[in-house]
């Protein structure tokens, strides 16, 4: 296995899927000649030509609208919205068209599109370019939501997303693009809806995804030095959600901390906590803790942004409240 960045892993998945299936194409602002705003689609225009790597006008509505139409007509578009913060511009195309068609046409229509969007704070991009809006996507029936944290997961999940016959939201974290990891060469897929236990432990379960997985793992290392063995679970896909892996872990540890970068109020952590309380209550030996951002726009000032984003210390504090 080769060491690759998260960004290279996404690029590799796109290239492999475009080679495997000629119906796959990508479109978005600056994805072609410029190689993508963050360089993720670098080189694909040269390899596949302008018919399959389309530089779109600055219109999210046009990008999403054309992609939905093409998908229903039989292609497999992989549109890119540069920042998830801009998804509001094309929300009708996403929530009323893409998400509903398969259901409303009695299964006769399929919408095989994968919408890639960059999310996350930590790069000084301010309130309109730093959000984590996954809870928003998870609230819409008909959409699957994928949030990889590692380079290998980024590749395996994107390939599965592209092969899925209905819309998949693929959220890549800006601050993870340069993070490296071992990535399997060639054909490598990860089924959607399968969590991964990134670290085993017996004392407490920490559920974290995307950027927060890395902070949870660091916190777990520190906690281990103090004799607290944390089990760290990355759900990888929020919809569908792998309850079984989480519940099994809670049965073992009796304690749960949920970590996400999105604001706590209305965040997906609330959904997980409710799920656990409803279905796994008797396994809990302590109340559920959530570590998430405060209910505020993301500050631009770097010191405020750092204070805003959940970190290792906050995770440790939450875990220690149990002991």
């Amino acid at each position: 296995m080769a060491e690759k960045t998260y960004s290279q892993a996404i690029n590799e998945a796109l290239e492999e899927e475009m080679r495997r299936d000629e119906k796959v194409y990508i479109l978005g602002e600056d994805v072609g000649a410029f190689g993508g705003c963050f360089g993720v689609t670098t080189g694909l225009l040269e390899k596949f030509g302008a018919e399959r790597v389309l530089d779109a006008p600055i219109s999210e509505t046009a990008i999403m609208g054309s992609a939905v139409g093409a998908a229903v007509a039989g292609l497999r578009p992989v549109p890119e919205i540069m920042f998830v913060d801009f998804v509001g511009v094309c929300l009708d195309e996403l929530l009323n068209q893409a998400a509903k068609m398969h259901y409303m046409f009695g299964g006769k229509a399929k919408v095989p599109l994968t919408l890639r969007m960059a999310c996350g704070a930590g790069v000084g991009a301010a309130a309109q370019h730093s959000q984590s809006l996954e809870a928003f996507m998870c609230h819409i029936p008909g959409l699957k939501v994928v949030m990889p944290a590692t380079a290998a997961d980024a590749k395996g999940l994107l390939k599965s997303a592209i092969r899925d016959d209905n819309p998949v939201i693929y959220l890549e974290h800006k601050a993870l693009l340069g993070v490296t990891g071992e990535v399997p060469e060639g054909e490598y897929t990860i089924p959607l809806g399968k969590a991964d236990i990134k670290r085993e432990g017996k004392d407490v379960t920490i559920l974290a995804y995307s950027m927060m997985l890395h902070k949870a793992l660091a916190a777990a290392e520190t906690l281990a030095q103090e004799g607290i063995e944390a089990e760290v679970i990355d759900p990888r896909t929020l919809v569908p959600f792998d309850k079984e892996t989480l519940y099994k872990s809670i049965e073992k540890t009796g304690r749960l901390v949920i970590v996400h970068e999105a604001v706590k109020q209305g965040g997906f952590g609330g959904e997980i906590a409710a799920m656990v309380a409803e279905e796994c209550f008797d396994s809990l030996d302590a109340s559920i803790k959530r570590v998430a951002a405060p209910f505020s726009p993301i500050p631009f000032a770097s010191n405020l942004e750092a204070a805003y984003i959940p970190d290792e210390a906050k995770i440790i504090e939450a875990v220690k409240s149990f002991f």
Partner: protein
């Protein structure tokens, strides 16, 4: 150059001093030998002289605060010192002061830091329970009211239920650790049980008045301060035990099942507690050693015992053992004889107690000695004699060291019957103050009556007060006597003048006035005259 002024050692036993006041201000010049500050030690106030010529640059020791000896109190500047050097000296002095204060009182008794505690529950049952614990309790049929919670805010968690179940079943959560017979623990276990089985253990306990020995120890430590010799109570115990053993050879014996060996030498072992167990090195031939040699030997043996550096010969051939649990606050116990020896002395903690001595109440220091003996060899009466002799020496140690008892007024406990004239004054004035709250008209009325009477007029205050003394004696009022003798002497009356006034009272009051004169008035003159 800049000098750092330290808290001086103003007496042999001084450990710390309190700054009463600084006699110079910052920036003021001070000559070598000139009084710089006033320090209060346990006994006296002393003006401390400046050890340098220069200027008092900065004061860092605060008036009213106590500091251990040798910690920085101020920085003194000399002519030509530059600001940077002074600031550097000041920083150094401040950090040394902080370090000394943080590190306790520099050799003075350090209090053990209290370990954090998790408070015990007082009442049973908890108001909160985790779902997991609730389910487990329900499955096991256990009423939650019986379980105390250890989770946040006293919540019952799974572990509490598991512990309760284990407790009900008579199980204890435990870990099995094998004892290796070759290990130190194994050897100790074997020797202890053997001793218990073979020897017929009897323990005698007796209290010793350690007040005199405490004084002797302080005197000797003061004398030995230059040589850095510091004696512990164990040193004295070893020495006196050696002496007692020489007078009671049977107690200094070793025995097997068939024979008693009366040991020729007196080798007193001192038990040393190590993390992995107990070891008893012994001091050989105690009677021929000086106290200083014994002290040095014990320190050396204990230090090397802690580093596992003892020679086997230092553990063998003991004839008697002393084991001291006093440092742990233990009073009396029943030590197990270190076989093949036939007796062992357990030493308890030293405690202060009030006790009647020659019809007065004194503050004295007591310690319990616990002597375990092998009753097969030593009878109770012999052991009691041995213990009695040892205690006799411990309680009367002065002749052994050619020392005299140091006067110690702290021993006497002041009681109501032994009120000083000052106590009498004090009780009247505090009573009057209290009365101002309780019955202001009465108290203020009294004061407004007294004020114009006892003021300078055709008669002087002293004359009026002397008249009052005579009348107070005649009226047999102890409080009035104390107050007016005090006022008279304050106004310049001599003791003789007071006594003459008392004579007037005696002329009228006869024997009763005489009785007050020889007791109360004399006591007041003595107290207020100085």
């Amino acid at each position: 150059m800049a000098h750092i002024m330290l808290m001086p050692k103003l007496g042999l036993t001084m450990k710390k001093g309190k700054i009463v006041s600084w006699l110079k201000n910052e920036g003021e010049a001070v000559a070598l030998g000139e009084a710089l500050l006033e320090v209060m030690t346990e006994k006296v106030n002393i003006n401390v002289e400046s050890p340098y010529n220069g200027v008092l640059y900065k004061i860092i020791g605060a008036p009213g605060s106590s500091y251990p000896i040798s910690v920085p109190l101020a920085v003194l500047a000399e002519e030509g010192d530059d600001a940077a050097a002074l600031e550097a000296a000041l920083d150094e002095a401040k950090s040394a002061l902080q370090a000394a204060l943080a590190g306790g009182n520099d050799g003075a008794e350090k209090k053990k830091e209290a370990k954090p505690v998790k408070p015990f529950g007082v009442f049973s049952g908890a108001s909160k329970v985790s779902p997991r614990a609730a389910k487990l309790a329900a499955n096991e049929g256990i009423a939650l009211e019986l379980i105390n919670g250890s989770g946040p805010n006293g919540k019952v968690v799974e572990e509490d239920v598991l512990n309760y179940i284990a407790q009900v079943k008579g199980e204890t959560t435990s870990e099995l650790r094998p004892i290796d017979p070759q290990s130190m623990r194994g050897v100790i276990a074997d020797r202890m049980i053997k001793s218990r089985r073979e020897a017929a253990h009897v323990t005698l306990m007796k209290e010793v008045d350690m007040t005199s020995l405490k004084d002797v120890r302080e005197q000797l430590n003061a004398l030995g301060a230059d040589k850095r010799v510091k004696f512990s109570f164990t040193d004295f115990l070893v020495k006196f035990t050696g002496q007692a053993l020489s007078e009671f050879p049977l107690v200094n014996s070793r025995s097997t099942a068939k024979e008693i060996e009366l040991a020729k030498s007196i080798n007193v072992g001192v038990a040393v507690a190590l993390e992995e167990g107990l070891v008893v090195p012994n001091v050989k031939n105690v009677p021929i050693l000086s106290l200083e040699q014994i002290s040095a030997k014990i320190k050396d043996l204990a230090a090397r015992a802690r580093n596992s550096e003892l020679d086997p010969s230092e553990i063998e051939q003991g004839t008697f053992t002393i084991t001291n649990l006093g440092a742990y606050g233990v009073e009396g116990f029943t030590p197990i004889i270190n076989r093949p020896e036939t007796a062992i002395l357990g030493v308890g903690t030293i405690k202060q107690k009030p006790i009647m001595v020659d019809s007065r109440l004194e503050n004295r220091f007591f310690m319990t000695l616990s002597l375990s003996l092998d009753h097969r060899i030593i009878d109770g009466s012999l052991a009691a004699d041995f213990l009695g002799r040892l205690i006799e020496m411990l309680e009367n140690p002065y002749p052994w060291f050619q020392l005299q008892p140091q006067a110690n007024d702290d021993l006497l406990i002041k009681t109501g019957g032994k009120e000083t004239p000052y106590d009498v004054l004090e009780s009247f004035s505090t009573g009057l103050e209290a009365l101002k709250e309780e019955a202001p008209e009465l108290a203020i009325g009294f004061e407004s009556l007294m004020a114009p009477v006892f003021c300078e007029g055709e008669l002087g205050i002293m004359e009026k007060e002397l008249m009052a003394v005579a009348i107070a004696i005649y009226t047999k009022c102890e409080f009035c006597i104390a107050a007016h003798v005090y006022n008279a002497m304050n106004a310049g009356a001599s003791g003789d003048q007071v006594l003459e006034a008392a004579g007037v009272a005696v002329a009228f009051g006869g024997g009763a006035a005489m009785a007050y004169t020889v007791t109360k008035v004399r006591a007041c003159i003595k107290a207020f005259g100085g």
